[in-house]
Symmetry: C2
Subunit: 280 residues, 2 copies
């Protein structure tokens, strides 16, 4: 698989890069961000964190706003941040150009409905294209962590839970825990997946943990002042379900006064990296 460097910035003795490549899975050109700590540039194999961003984001938001480079340099972790949907003029978008469906809102699922199914295959893109590509091009050991925010928190939880052999641990900020039951998820799933709600459950973190105890550590942080907390995120239901397993492997924390922004993510990101490394 060919990839090309689009931009490169030295950062904390490492390199922050943006790459472009042709995605066969999504049938379009894609971009993703990578941070390589100095130790990786020196040829050492390091763990890799896959970060999935939220609605409206591209591959750049996390790399520009989270402060991850300082943390990843300190703890020697490679970071990979893909885009949030297929892109380009040939990719269909919501007729209303809304922020919560279509471009910038791929929901990390494989669409089965027209006109979406040709491009909107973000679930397979992450697993079958991005991970092999990262294994091929970067000095990663076999340690993968997955994390994300909001729609990307939903992506991290569902991809991690369904593929626990690939990841050591999952974390999420403000994830959409139960998309089948909330406005954002209902809009996206009914368009991408059609009306059969059994198909929706495959991509619903709460459904995935209901009858199956997760076999990898999970950390979730949720701000109490997040405007989407009550209507879209279902955090308390998810917390209750994990608590029912009575395991110290799972932690869902409500952070007093924090909101849905990158200011919240930046505040707790170092704790998430420490959590992932502790899982080893």
């Amino acid at each position: 698989m060919n990839i090309e460097i689009k931009s490169e910035n030295k950062s904390f003795d490492g390199l922050n890069r943006q790459y472009t490549h042709r995605s066969n899975t999504l049938d379009c050109d894609m971009q993703f961000g990578v941070f390589l700590p100095e130790k990786a540039l020196q040829g050492n194999k390091l763990p890799v964190l896959f970060w999935l961003s939220g609605l409206t984001c591209t591959d750049e938001n996390f790399m520009q706003k989270s402060g991850i480079q300082k943390i990843a340099s300190k703890y020697n972790v490679i970071v990979v941040a893909p885009d949030t949907s297929p892109r380009g003029e040939s990719v269909p978008d919501d007729v209303d150009k809304s922020y919560d469906f279509g471009l910038g809102a791929g929901f990390y699922i494989n669409a089965t409905q027209e006109p979406w199914k040709k491009n909107y295959q973000m679930y397979s893109y992450i697993l079958e294209e991005l991970i092999p590509l990262v294994d091929e091009h970067f000095p990663v050991d076999d340690t993968r962590f997955i994390s994300g925010h909001s729609m990307g928190g939903h992506g991290a939880l569902t991809i991690g839970l369904k593929n626990s052999e690939l990841f050591k641990s999952i974390s999420a900020f403000s994830p959409i825990c139960n998309p089948s039951q909330v406005p954002w998820g209902i809009k996206a799933f009914s368009n991408y997946l059609g009306d059969d709600k059994n198909q929706w459950k495959k991509y619903d973190a709460l459904e995935l943990v209901k009858n199956n105890k997760p076999n990898l550590p999970i950390l979730v942080d949720q701000g109490s002042d997040d405007v989407f907390y009550a209507e879209q995120l279902s955090t308390v239901s998810f917390q209750k379900q994990l608590n029912a397993y009575d395991s110290d492997q799972f932690s869902v924390r409500i952070q007093e006064g924090y909101d849905h922004s990158y200011y919240f993510i930046a505040t707790f990101l170092e704790e998430h990296i420490k959590f992932h490394l502790k899982s080893l």
Copy 2:
């Protein structure tokens, strides 16, 4: 002076806020960013860093991209980041809407020429309006630091050098050290100040240090791979001039491989805060 909170985000136990206010000096509405560490919210008086941003920036870039909140929380410093020019429909802009003159490019000087002089008074805005406003509304002690990037590095150096009684120390990233002699500066100064180059010298850091040894500590960081290094920034001339004073109070460092971006600023920002605090 009245100010209004436009937005507020909890960050590292402190609050990141954006304020709006009417500026009499600039004859327009202005915005600025503030970070208040937890200790400030508890009523403690803290030092304050004034950060001046570069061309094209608003009051938001530094607050969103530099990681300052983590550092300011750790070291207990209040941060104030003003916009880079007057704003609004009544404010004249460059006819070509260029990035390096007019809106987003106030150069922290007081314009004397038409049609700029009515609004483009950023030098007086910082000194006579923003500092008193900060003293009135926030729990600051009498310790002020000033720093900035590129055009804002020029602003920090010139405002700090000309008002050393107001500041304890100056730092800058990639500053325009000798605006009178480089394309960005020549374009801005000839428009804002007219053809009399004696007027330009008042706002030129290299000119200001030529015959007067600065009486406060100065730290400058400049990336060696900055695309503007050779043509616009005159760093080596400034470094030579400060070195001629043979004082450990002045340091101009060339950082190998770094560029002009926020990735560079984020990397060395904690060192700048430590430098400022050491000046006390």
